[in-house]
């Protein structure tokens, strides 16, 4: 076996499986999908950060009006929390 990603084909007609290295062409597609997934995720992180920022400023405006923390929480829920990434190991 090599270090290349493994690709398997199971043939229902024969019941046999073939395992081979990923071809160069398939590797290009694989890397393209990785890049798209990265872009999707980056866009999501930006949108979520904006959502949290909006929630924080909105919450502060309610506090500035004189409402207590408990009252604001009762109205709009708890303050947004920064998501915690999986720790490095």
């Amino acid at each position: 076996m090599t270090d290349k990603p493994q690709v398997a084909i199971y043939d229902c007609a024969t019941g046999e499986a073939t395992v081979r290295d990923m071809t160069d062409e398939e590797t290009v597609i694989h890397n393209d999908r990785l890049a798209h997934a990265e872009e999707d995720n980056a866009a999501r992180l930006v949108a979520e950060a904006q959502e949290r920022a909006d929630a924080a400023t909105g919450r502060q405006k309610l506090l500035d009006l004189g409402l207590s923390e408990d009252e604001v929480t009762a109205l709009v829920g708890p303050a947004p929390i920064e998501p915690e990434p999986a720790p490095a190991v």
Partner: protein, 234 residues
Amino acid sequence: MANQNWYLQSHYHAQSSHTNLTISNLQSGTVTDDQGNTTAVNSSNFPVYRLVCKLRFDTQNMASNSYFWIMMGGNQSSWDGSNMYSGDWTSKYSSQMYSNYGNDFGNSRPGIYCGSGMFGASYNYYAWGSAVTDSEGVTVQSYDVRRGAYTTIDFNTYHQNTNWYPGGVGSSSGVYNGSSASPVTYQAESGSWGFATGGTSNATYFNEITLSSSYGFQGDILLYRGAIQNYVGN
């Protein structure tokens, strides 16, 4: 036991790490009932597909640039109509009864994209516990593949006729690694995922199913076919 309508068409065990698996020649072979009658396995007699997977992904970190695709129809398939998906980024709170969801229209998804939610169960590298010795005297480290967590995937879909492929529903489940020092209520990589699709007219007939993943996976992939009558003997 009486004849039944479900048939286990394939069981592939990925012993080594794979990034792709194609199950081909889906419309082939025959089944035999208890009376000796044979029936061809094709999309007319067996229109229902049920894909059941128990997979462990080769990752120690739920990285952002991950993908897992299930492509009914191989690389040629696409899904139109309305695709509702509840991915990793929409299942933030375990206490939510109803998850948020996204919705696509048009041929915007060539496959069923599961995202990093699929990888949430891969916490085996977090070194839970210590090394143990198995029954044959072999030391098994806490990060060994044998002690990894698996994600289960269950996807059902239905091939109605040659004009319209109505789509299906699917879900996966896993667990978060639980390694956070503080309580976590906002965790994108929850390890759960759901999907429902309106179907497609672009792949009304297909002969293969392809699984494609950014990370290598090991485990079992079972494909069941459901028949319109009790064609399958015991």
